[in-house]
Amino acid sequence: MTKLTVLIFAVMAAVFLGVVAYDLARAKKTHTQFHIKHCAVGFLMIGPAVVLSFVFIMLPILFSLGYAFTDYQLLTPDKVKFIGFDNIADIFKEIFSGGELLTAIKNTAIFVVCVVPLQIIMALGLALFCSRKVRGAAIFKVCFFAPVVISLTVTSYLWLTILDPAETGLFNSLLGAFGIPPQDFLRDPDTAMLWIVLLSAWQGCGYQMLIFLSGLTNIRSDLYEAARLDGANAWKRFVNITVPGLKSSVLYITITVFIGACRIMVQPMLMTGYQEHTVTLSYFMYKQGYDFGFVGKSSAVALLMTIFIGLITFIQKKVLSEK
């Protein structure tokens, strides 16, 4: 495998150096000495980023793509055999036989469908609140953004404490004050995913809030003034000025939140373990690849998932982007 890595690295390095040489040669023909230097410095500066993204992004993607067509088992990297599309065929068989993979797809779909709109609405609401010229708005911004900088592991454990099924659990203590018996929120198939959706939306919306805030500052204030003079109420101003003004932000946020949501794994892993009602596609992949050692199958799922996400993202971009 190391030889293959070196080979891929050599090919990538050759491609990169080829691009650099071609660009410099072209610059020499058409530009001044200043432009040539400018161009070379540019390439030197992106060099480290290119190497890092190759090692940590491109290489794993390429390997994963290759593994999808092999019977690679985690602890036998020296006995990998090419098996063509067998893994893909097995995956579809498992989906159509109603196996665990189908459950994982369903759970992921439920999560995505719930969390994407919820997180966008929450982020927009917070951004609109923070954009108002009120005292202490900066403090609110910090508070709303704080969950983003805390690791998902920490927030998951925090919510585990809040939702502890014991009657001494934080939320159950509150329910107990109203005479409601303790609830096992995360073991109940009807509520577990709902809580994971809420936690994820709460954890992530602070970041999208900042993007919306930046989008809001780009909307000219004279548009609001003109609308006000024309007698437009707050709702009409929001629908006719704010929403169109935020269209590009919404597009970016929808795509990034969608991709992030499709990859959900940490929250169910830490909060419920590998249970039928919360297993997601990424968790399924992780379990198959790391715990069970079926890297080939896990990579095949990853490949199909990547194709699916790419397709949906393309459709989203087509539908939401400005003509």
């Binding site: 040489a21 040539i36 602890l75 303790p182 073991r187 373990g273 790391y290």
Partner: protein
Amino acid sequence: MNKILKIIGAVACVAVVASGIPAWVSGAEDGESSGGNTVVSVMFHVSTSSKEGQAYKKRIDAFNEHYKEQKIKAQATYIPRTSGSSANETALTAMKSEGTLPDIITFDSPKCSYYASKDILYNITNMVSDIKDEFIASSINYYEDKIYGLPVQESSAGFYYNKNLFRQAGISDKEISEYGDETPWTYTEFLSVCERLSSVCSTSAVDMRFKATTDETAPYLLYPFVYASGGEFCSKDGNTVTGFFDSDETASAFGFFKTLLDKKYSSYTVDANDFYNGKVGMFLSSGWTIPDLRNKNYTAFPGGEGWGLLPYPYEAEGKAASATGSWSFGITDNHHKDKTAARMLLRWLVTDESSQVITEHTGMISAKKAVNEGRYADGSPEAMLLKQLATTGKSRPAMVGYAVLSTTFNQVINDLEKSSDIKSFLTEKARTMQATIKDY
């Protein structure tokens, strides 16, 4: 332009040379000798800040001192395990891929079959045949009747009970002593105790650890009930689960758990601290709880007093079984063909002296019979566990696909409460499991 191209060329050369340095460096370490010493490497699953890690460090230092003249040197790395797919196992996997496995590793006993089948562990049958009888028999790690691991220490589990709550529930000391006597107690007796405890416990009569389904805790603590009910997890070769995991006997064990839930003797909502706070009468836990109860001044057990330990119960028509199996030492099937130094270090780590040092640090029971002789007073919790190990200890199933079984076991426990037909539920799970383990 030429100057710029030269700079780029120089940078490319530096990059190529730099990328080769790690391989060159690792190549230097790859040899069997360093500074004239034969180096034998070992990887432990705990950090040196833990008591167990300190014990290992002491024994490694002692080994190096002892074999100084013979120029054999042990080099230890400490990569602590965590829950889930641990840092320790991730490191092991990476080392296997890179071909840099240490000579000796520590591993959790149910992983033995998987590691042995994937050529991580080396067959040590001939290396230890003369000392294998020194260990508690159920602790030794076998795969296809060959030895692949020797235990670091022993681990068993039982039901810790609150003497005060037992007294309040009218359960006499005489009755308790009968449960831990020659034969363990039966399910009927266990249920009777739970019934009486229910009236005095503010949460549940017993914490069966049904909540601990995110890692190996629940499978480790609850698997003996399947054997105690006369059930099995898989065929003898570990390759078939259908017909075993969903047998009537296995279903009966899960049925016993469901009875405990239905009768509210146990629940999923018991807090992990409820036993320590005096809210639960019994607590199913491993031997690691003994030093905790003794040394930490818990509310319900001031001064480390007021608690006892009872063995696993069993189905009257079945055969008593109890949890066994902790971490083990194994020699790896790495690039070092000469295993002489590895053999010497392995045998050193399992000597009576090493075993004594390790168990003194951890407070656990030694896997060496000689170390345990006369060590624990009659009636002590350790003596009870030791007796239980000797008489009813039964290790977890030796399966290459143990990870699949463990995951499924957790799922079954988690969904038990809402399952109305346990047998069909287990059949469905066994079918899914079988489809997965066939790929190993």
